[in-house]
Amino acid sequence: MPPFVITVARIGFIVLLWIFVFTVVGVIRRDLFAGARSSRLVAAPRGVGAVLGNTKPAKVKRGRAAHQLVVTAGQLAGTRITLGEAQITIGRAEDSTLVITDDYASARHARLVPRSGQWFVEDLGSTNGTYLDRAKVTGPTPVPLGVPIRIGRTSLELRP
């Protein structure tokens, strides 16, 4: 073998190795962007799920309307749910929209219901109660943006 061929093969192999690395990075990169577009989670009620692929996030008025429910404290801290037109149930039960593993939460703890663009929080007879900021929730109570709903050790907030 002429030395020239050997040199080309030697450098060529390293180049090929790096081509592989960059192809892998390219695949991962496309993956990341595919994730970014759908990183907002769409919550829909039970049974409506089948058409979920076509549902768009609710057509609530832009501006001061709530578009997201964000968990600010507790085990699920950082979780965001894009709000639709459907109610959101919160509790330890498997079929809740937001399943929280919190020792101080009941199986069916509370729910968030939209009524003409305004979200209401309602306690579902929980053991330890639901609090809107400091006040205990007794009936359906309107939830302003950015005010924490406290359930056990978990806090949730509506965000625009």
Binding site: M1, I6, R10, F20, V21, T23, I28, T101
Partner: protein, 485 residues
Amino acid sequence: MPRVRVAAKSRRNAELGLLLLAMAVVAAYAATVEANLLDTVTLDFWVPIAAVGAVFLALHLVVRFLAPYADPVLVPAVALVNGLGVAFLRRLDLANAAPEERADFAIFSGTGGRQLAWTLASVILAAGLLVLMRDHRAVSRYAYTLGLAGIVLVIIPAVLPARYSQVNPQSDAKLWISVGGFTIQPGEFAKLALLVFFAYYLVRKREVLSLASRRFLGVDFPRGRDLGPVVVVWIISLGVLVFQKDLGTSLLYFGMFVVTLYIATERVSWLIIGLLLFFGGAFLAYFLGSTVGGPFANFYTRVEIWLDPYGDAYGAGWQPLQGLLGLGTGGLFGTGPGGGQPTQIPEVHNDFIFAGMGEEIGLFGLSALLVIYLLIIERGLRAALAVRDSFGKLLAGGLSFTLCLQLFVIIGGISSLIPLTGQTTPFLSAGGSSLMANWLLVATLLRISDAARRPVETGTGPRPSGAPATPPPQLHGATTEVIRP
């Protein structure tokens, strides 16, 4: 049941493409080796590569049908490293063979041939695990059994007489079970079994571990009684260090447990406690080695060699020095595959394979190899982040970290960053147990990443075939329906 959805594509075609590219890289390597060593490229240089390539393709098909949403990068990246390992070991055989035998060297002979056979067996085993394990949560049912099996596997070589547990007469590490010419290294499998147990135990205990704590110097420290299991694992890993004379494995077990603990509780205090305990143990072993000797003497010598490799250049320091010289000879671009003298390094097919390859592919080649390892580990951690149940998170995080720590221990040892300790380089080193255990690890990661990337079923419709109708009952806090973005 869950009603949350992420856009998901299976990306299986990307996997296939990457796999073909990986095999092309390995074939280029094999061809260059022959051009250098034989001065010609024989017509059947591609036969071993085709053999591994075929079995990787079979694995790809199994993944396509049984884990369609699994990560597309894992299989090709691991296949590349494994294929390069087989080709490099064959290259060592060629260098050791007589020149006239080189041209028609049988594909299943020598270390490379054995590694090829082991690769075929391991990949088939990994595919088998994918077939058997349709839902990673099912493994948690056997957690206690696996934990016990892991401890037994760790202990066996330590209590066996040296005749059955020492393979290499030069090193006195007792890591093997050797019966009638057939050798296995049970520690490699123990790693996986123990990790399943750790993950399960910590999912059950995470609340008490992370909540009941005392604050001291601004860091939350857990209560004394919750420290129990950590101390037990620390003692076991020190026992491994003392009786099996293996610093690397003990570091591996201990690091594995501390990091799963950290992932479970998100408390930095565990890392601090873990590092303090490890360094405390290491200093104690070094001190005892210099004064008492006995079982600690081996560890003491390792540290001495690390501190001054030239102190005994023709004796104890010979192997690490040859490794360093090999890396230095390679320089930036290496001497080219087949163009170096890796056979100068003792144990180059095993512990020192990274130095041997480094001589031939140079810094640029080695760093590409390291980036590929990094990507494998990153994909594992990514699966851990995305999967929806705590057990899967802990298991995937722990498995990826173990892979990472093992690489750090051996490559750090070869490059003299830390005292050298014998560990296999995952997927690269010759050795059936290590290869098999690591392929099982990859199969588990594939399964978990499939669960993580699978679009969530809508409504109460039929669940994916094979998945149980309800999650395993014992798992506390097993499912959250909401994915953390």
